[in-house]
C-alpha cells in the first residue's frame, strides 16, 4: 500500500475518540452515574424510571405514616385520659352505692360525675390539624353537642364512616374510629351512662345498675381503643419495612445506573493517556519528509 500523509486525519480521529471517552468518564465520575441519558443504556433507563417512581412513592408513604401516626397517637392519648376518668366515675358509683352516705355526699358525687361527663365531652370533641378526631368522616363539625332530647343530653352529629389511607403499595389501614363506636355506641353510650349515674346518685336509687352501665361503656371504649395502639404499632413495622425497601430500591438503582468509581477512574486515566500519547506520537513523528533532507544539502 502506498503511504501518504494521512496522519492529520488519524490524529484528529484519535483525539476525538479520546476526548469523547474522557468527557464520558468525567461525567460519570461527577454524577456518580453510568447512565446519564437514556441513550447510554436504554433498558437500564426504562427500569430506572420505575425505580425512581417507587422510591419517591416510598418517601410519600413514609410521610403519610408519620402524619397518620401522630394523629393516631393524639387520639390514643386522649382516649387514655378518658379511660382514667371513666375509672374514676366507676369508683364514684361504687362509693355512692354505699348506703351510709348522706344525700349531701351523694350530691357531691353526682356533681363530680357531671364534671367527668363534661371532661369526656371535651375529649370526644377533640380536634387535630383542623378536623375533629372522633366524628367519622363528617369531621369538619364538632361531633358531640348538648341536646336535652338526646340520650344523656348529648347528641352525635358525626357519621359511622372511617377513612382508609394507603401506607404501602396496595396496603391500606383505617386511620380513625367514629365516635359512634367509642362514646355513643348503641347500648354503651358513655354520656347516657354518666348522666344515668349522676341521676342515680342524686336520687339514691339504682346506683349499682347505673355503675354497671358506666362499666359497659368503659369496656366498649377500652376494647375499641385497642385499634389505635395496634394501628400505631403496625405503622411502625410498615415504616421499618418501607425504609428497608427504600434502601433496597436505592441499591437497585445504584446497581442499575450507578457507576463503578474504580472503572470510571480507570477510564479517565486511560482516556488521558490515549490523548497524551496521540499528541506525543505526532510531536515525535513531526512532518518529516524527504524534502527536509533535500533542503539541507
Amino acid at each position: 500500500m502506498r503511504l501518504t500523509s494521512t496522519e492529520s486525519m488519524i490524529l484528529l480521529n484519535a483525539l476525538n475518540a479520546a476526548d469523547r471517552s474522557q468527557q464520558n468518564a468525567l461525567l460519570q465520575m461527577t454524577t456518580g452515574k453510568r447512565v446519564n441519558v437514556a441513550s447510554d443504556d436504554p433498558s437500564a433507563a426504562a427500569v430506572e424510571v420505575q425505580t425512581s417512581d417507587q422510591t419517591s412513592g416510598c418517601d410519600q408513604f413514609l410521610r403519610s405514616i408519620s402524619s397518620v401516626t401522630s394523629e393516631l397517637q393524639t387520639a390514643d392519648s386522649a382516649l387514655n385520659s378518658c379511660v382514667t376518668t371513666l375509672q374514676r366515675a366507676i369508683s364514684l358509683g361504687i362509693e355512692g352505692a354505699n348506703g351510709t352516705l348522706s344525700q349531701q355526699d351523694r350530691d357531691a358525687l353526682a356533681s363530680e360525675v357531671k364534671g367527668i361527663s363534661d371532661q369526656v365531652l371535651g375529649i370526644a370533641n377533640l380536634s387535630f390539624n383542623g378536623h375533629f378526631l372522633f366524628a367519622g368522616t363528617a369531621d369538619s363539625q364538632q361531633p358531640y353537642v348538648l341536646d336535652p332530647n338526646a340520650p344523656g343530653g348529648v347528641a352525635y352529629q358525626g357519621n359511622d364512616f372511617t377513612n382508609q389511607i394507603e401506607v404501602e403499595q396496595g396496603h391500606t389501614v383505617a386511620m380513625n374510629l367514629p365516635g359512634s363506636k367509642l362514646f355513643s355506641a348503641a347500648g354503651a353510650n358513655v354520656f347516657q351512662a354518666l348522666s344515668d349515674l349522676s341521676d342515680a346518685l342524686s336520687s339514691g336509687t339504682a346506683i349499682d345498675t347505673a355503675t354497671e352501665s358506666v362499666r359497659t361503656a368503659f369496656d366498649q371504649l377500652t376494647s375499641s381503643r385497642v385499634f389505635y395502639g395496634s394501628t400505631v404499632s403496625q405503622l411502625d413495622s410498615d415504616q421499618t419495612f418501607l425504609q428497608s425497601e427504600k434502601l433496597q430500591l436505592q441499591q437497585n438503582s445504584n446497581d442499575n445506573v450507578g457507576v463503578d468509581m474504580n472503572v470510571a477512574a480507570t477510564n479517565l486515566v486511560n482516556a488521558e493517556n490515549a490523548r497524551n500519547s496521540a499528541l506525543a506520537a505526532v510531536a515525535q513523528a513531526g512532518n518529516l519528509s524527504l524534502l527536509d533532507y533535500l533542503s539541507k544539502t
Binding site: 441513550s39 436504554p42 433507563a45 424510571v49 412513592g57 378536623h131 363528617a138 524527504l290
Partner: protein
C-alpha cells in the same frame, strides 16, 4: 545515421519533458491539502525511432499527457458510506435535542405523574386541608404542563426539521446544477482531448457533498455522469439537472419533496435529508402519538375516578382535566378548574372523607390499553428514545470507521506523498541537468565541427 542536430532536438525534447514533470510535481505539492484533489503524473513515452536501413535510432521522449490517479470504485463506496454516515449523524443530532424531554429520574413527565399521585396520597391523610388540596391541584397542573411542554417541544422540533428539509433540497438543487454544468464542460474538454483531471476532481467533490445530503446513485457514461436517487429518480442527466421541489402536504402538514415523477418523500433514505425525514416522519410522530395516547388515557381514567367522588361542597365531582382525545391530546392537556374545593376527595359527601382518593390513586396502577401502567408507558418511551439514539450512534461509529478506512485507501491511490514528490523533484532536476549538459556538449561538438572548416 543520427546527426548532431537530431541529438540537439532530443535534448530539447527532454528538457521540455522534465519541465512538464517538474510542473506536475509542483502542482501536486501545491494541492496536497486541496479536498478532492487527485495526484497527477506526467505520461512520458519514447518517441518513434528514426529508422535508417537496418538501424533504428531512438528519438527521445514525448510527453503524451498528464494523468490523474483516481479509483472510481473507491469513490462509489465513499459516496455510499457518506450517505449512511451523514444520515446517522443528522438523526443522532436531532434525537439528542429530544432526549432531554424524557429524563429517567428527576423532572419530566415521569416525575410529574409520580408527583401527582403522591400529592393525592398526602391529601388522604387530611382530605379537607386547604393547603394539601392546593398541592394536589398544582401537581395536576404540573402533570398537564409536563405533557403539553413535551408535546410542544416535539412539535417545534418537527417544524424545525421541516425547515431543514427545504434548506437541504435547495442545497441539493445547487449541487446538481453545478454537477450538470461540469458535465457540459467535461463534454467539451473531452472532445478536444485536453486534460480534464481537475474538472473531474471538482465533480467528484461535488458528488461527495451531494451524498452527504441525500441518497444518490452514480452512473458513469463516458466523461459524463448520470445521477439518480436510489429509487431511480433522475437528478442529473449529462448537462441537464432536474431540481427537486418542496411543497406543503395538506394531509400531515409537513413539507414533502417532489421530483418530476411526483412525491418522493418516502423514498429518500440517505444523507442529511434521509436523517431529517426519518426523525420528522417516523420517530418523532411515533413518540408524539404515544404521548397523546398516554395523556388521553390518564385524563379519561382520572376524570372517571374523579366523577365518582364529592367535592368539599358536597357536590358530585366533575372533570378533573379538560377532556382530550386523539392527536394533540398531550399538547392541550389542562386542569378543568382552579378552585381546590372542587377536588372530589370524598366518597360519601362529607368533607372529612378521603374515600375517593383511593379511586384516583388506583389509576396509577391501572393498566392502559397498551397493557402497561402510566409510569411503565413513560419508561417505555424513555427506552424508545434512548435506543433509537444508541442504535443510530452504533451505526454512526461503524460508518465513521468504514469511511476512515476508505478515505485512507483513497488517499493511498490519489493522495500526494511528500516523499514521493521530493524524490520526483530530484529526478526531474537531475534529468533536466543532464539534458542541459548534453545540449552544451552537442554545442561544443558543433563548434568543433564549425572550426574544422575554418582551418
Amino acid at each position: 545515421m543520427g546527426s548532431l542536430y537530431s541529438a540537439l532536438s532530443i535534448s530539447v525534447g527532454s528538457l521540455q519533458a522534465q519541465q512538464a514533470g517538474l510542473e506536475t510535481t509542483t502542482n501536486n505539492l501545491a494541492n496536497m491539502n486541496t479536498p478532492g484533489y487527485c495526484r497527477q503524473r506526467p505520461l512520458l513515452q519514447e518517441s518513434n525511432p528514426v529508422i535508417e536501413g537496418r538501424l533504428a535510432f531512438g528519438n527521445g521522449v514525448t510527453l503524451s499527457g498528464i494523468e490523474s490517479l483516481r479509483d472510481s470504485l473507491l469513490n462509489v463506496q465513499i459516496n455510499g458510506e457518506t450517505q449512511q454516515q451523514s444520515k446517522s449523524q443528522t438523526f443522532v443530532d436531532t434525537m439528542n435535542q429530544i432526549q432531554p424531554l424524557f429524563p429517567m429520574d428527576s423532572a419530566g413527565i415521569g416525575d410529574a405523574i409520580g408527583g401527582f399521585f403522591q400529592s393525592l396520597d398526602a391529601l388522604a391523610a387530611n382530605p379537607s386541608d386547604a393547603s394539601l388540596r392546593e398541592t394536589v391541584l398544582s401537581a395536576a397542573n404540573g402533570l398537564a404542563s409536563s405533557f403539553s411542554q413535551a408535546a410542544g417541544q416535539l412539535n417545534s422540533t418537527r417544524s424545525n426539521l421541516d425547515l431543514s428539509v427545504q434548506q437541504n433540497v435547495q442545497q441539493i438543487n445547487q449541487l446538481t446544477s453545478e454537477i450538470a454544468s461540469l458535465n457540459r464542460t467535461l463534454a467539451i474538454t473531452a472532445s478536444t482531448g485536453s486534460d480534464y483531471g481537475s474538472f473531474l476532481d471538482q465533480r467528484d467533490a461535488l458528488v461527495q457533498q451531494l451524498s452527504g445530503l441525500t441518497d444518490v446513485s452514480v452512473l458513469q457514461n463516458g466523461s459524463s455522469l448520470t445521477l439518480t436517487t436510489r429509487q431511480g429518480t433522475a437528478l442529473v442527466v449529462d448537462g441537464q439537472s432536474f431540481g427537486l421541489t418542496t411543497s406543503l402536504d395538506s394531509n400531515d402538514g409537513t413539507q414533502h419533496v417532489y421530483a418530476q415523477a411526483g412525491d418522493i418523500t418516502a423514498q429518500i433514505s440517505g444523507g442529511k435529508l434521509g436523517g431529517v425525514l426519518e426523525a420528522r416522519d417516523q420517530t418523532v410522530p411515533s413518540i408524539l402519538s404515544q404521548l397523546d395516547d398516554l395523556a388521553s388515557a390518564l385524563v379519561t381514567n382520572l376524570n372517571a375516578a374523579h366523577q365518582q367522588g364529592y367535592d368539599l361542597n358536597g357536590q358530585q365531582g366533575g372533570d378533573l382535566f379538560n377532556p382530550v382525545t386523539g392527536p394533540g391530546a398531550a399538547g392541550s392537556m389542562s386542569v378543568a378548574f382552579s378552585d381546590p374545593n372542587l377536588l372530589a376527595a370524598s366518597s360519601d359527601g362529607t368533607t372529612g372523607s378521603n374515600g375517593n382518593i383511593a379511586n384516583l390513586t388506583a389509576v396509577a396502577t391501572q393498566t392502559l390499553p397498551n397493557g402497561m401502567t402510566p409510569i411503565q408507558t413513560y419508561g417505555n418511551l424513555v427506552f424508545q428514545v434512548g435506543s433509537s439514539i444508541s442504535n443510530a450512534n452504533a451505526e454512526l461509529t461503524a460508518s465513521n470507521n468504514v469511511l476512515q478506512q476508505l478515505q485512507q485507501q483513497q488517499s493511498s491511490v490519489s493522495g500526494v506523498s511528500l516523499d514521493e514528490e521530493a524524490s520526483n523533484l530530484l529526478l526531474y532536476e537531475r534529468a533536466y541537468q543532464a539534458a542541459a549538459r548534453a545540449i552544451s556538449t552537442v554545442d561544443q561538438m558543433l563548434q568543433t565541427a564549425i572550426n574544422m572548416g575554418a582551418q
